[in-house]
């Protein structure tokens, strides 16, 4: 159960980072940290039972890891594009909502 509390700590760290950090890559990192925290809670609570651990959360986390890397790749590509556009200083119909 100790690890479930570790997961809670990671979720909170990620949440703090998401709110407080401004650099785009750091925010992506914060989301990833938050994600591993959630996974840790899932697996730690599956490991409570004696004997072989429950395979369903394991499958869920495997799915979650693949989803996380897909989203990270898209986020990173977007971040690069934003940074490049900012440095090139092309407003392209800049508008403040």
């Amino acid at each position: 159960m100790l690890y479930a509390f570790g997961g809670v700590a990671l979720v909170c760290l990620g949440l703090y980072g998401l709110v407080a950090l401004e650099h785009m890559l750091r925010r992506i990192l914060a989301v990833n940290v938050m994600g591993t925290g959630v996974f840790l809670i899932l697996i730690a609570s599956a490991a409570r039972a004696e004997g072989a651990p429950d395979p369903v959360p394991h499958a869920m986390v495997l799915t979650g890891i693949v989803v996380a890397v897909s989203a990270t790749a898209l986020a990173v590509a977007l971040a690069c594009r934003v940074a490049e556009q900012e440095q090139e200083g092309r407003p392209e119909g800049e508008v403040k909502p």
């Binding site: 159960m1 570790g6 997961g7 980072g17 693949v66 890397v69 990270t72 590509a77």
Partner: protein, 331 residues
């Protein structure tokens, strides 16, 4: 006792590494810190008796995610160095990775994290001490699933629908990343082929080794830890090395062929899922006697797709332009 000590040390190290990865002064240090974080996480998964996740985390969470972030940090920094020549002051003020937002944001973040943390900790503490979950059902039906490894049975049979949609997630991310690449080469590109001797020999030794190991992971995945995701992720590692080594794309690997590889997993999985319905079965309901070969076929196709997609995701982030190398082609 020593196990307890390991647990506490591991958790403290995890939290510390997570903190460093988010807030290290230089962004390059921050993203590199994600590598030990992911590796330690893999150790923790092994400690929690989740070897399948440990392999996937080491390959995807630690390896590929860190590679993506480093590539991005380089790309962003390189651009700003290029700009700095023209306008030092403006570029440096932008690229000075404003570490933290204003005091207001920090305060809100800290308060929010504390409140959520308290509530969550209370919820976790209130969880029942014993909950077998679905393992009895998985156990009871394992012999009909066509896979000996319960995690593989869940992923490809009991909850195969999730996995099918998940491969679609990968494809979506790829389409999203590829459409962001530019048509015209930016100033980043240099035509020179920088072959590093070390990297070259590394590639020659490691890539074949990776191919063999991932083949083994795929084959053994039915009964032991491993399977399509782990094998695909490892293969993608080989692909990333080939890209970094600026290996030329073989001529037979045209854009169309690459797209076919990308779609192979989804087509095979979806095709099997739908075709079993002709005999009056439900979606994804494999005939019991065919379950094992069907799962192996799906896993083989999925491995190829996952490997190609993950490689191309990295390639798409690494280079903002259309280059005649491995990552070119699709979209």
């Amino acid at each position: 006792m020593t196990v307890w000590a390991f647990d506490i040390l591991a958790l403290l190290a995890l939290v510390w590494l997570a903190w460093r990865a988010m807030t290290a002064r230089r962004i390059e240090v921050a993203v590199v810190t994600f590598l030990p974080y992911g590796l330690l996480m893999a150790l923790v998964w092994a400690r929690l008796r989740a070897p399948d996740i440990a392999i996937a985390e080491a390959a995807i969470g630690a390896g590929l995610t860190t590679a993506l972030l480093i590539a991005a940090a380089n790309r962003i920094r390189r651009r700003s160095a290029y700009e700095r020549a023209a306008d030092t002051a403006a570029a440096s003020s932008r690229s000075a990775d404003a570490r933290l937002g204003g005091w207001g944001k920090q305060l809100v973040g800290a308060v929010l994290a504390c409140v959520v943390g308290g509530l969550l900790a209370a919820a976790v503490a209130n969880l029942p001490a014993q909950q077998a979950g679905l393992s009895p059902q998985v156990e009871a039906n394992l012999s009909d699933s066509g896979a000996g490894n319960p995690v593989t049975a869940v992923l490809l049979n009991f909850r195969g629908y999730d996995t099918l949609l998940e491969i679609a997630v990968l494809l979506l991310a790829l389409i999203g990343v590829m459409q962001l690449r530019r048509e015209t080469p930016g100033p980043v590109v240099s035509a020179e082929q920088r072959h590093s001797l070390v990297l070259d020999s590394l590639v020659h030794v490691i890539v074949p080794l990776i191919v063999i190991v991932s083949g083994y992971l795929l084959w053994r995945g039915g009964d032991a830890p491993g399977g399509a995701f782990q094998a695909g992720a490892l293969l993608a590692g080989a692909g990333v090395l080939l890209i970094l080594n600026k290996q030329a794309r073989p001529a037979w690997l045209s854009a169309r062929v690459v797209r076919a590889f990308v779609a192979a997993g989804l087509l095979m999985f979806g095709g099997v899922a739908l075709n079993v319905m002709w005999t009056g079965r439900n979606l994804l309901e494999y005939p019991i006697e065919l379950a094992k070969p069907l799962i192996l076929a799906i896993e083989a196709a999925a491995t190829v797709s996952i490997a190609v997609i993950l490689t191309m995701l990295f390639g798409g982030v690494l280079t903002p332009h259309r280059a005649p190398s491995l990552q070119g082609g699709a979209s």
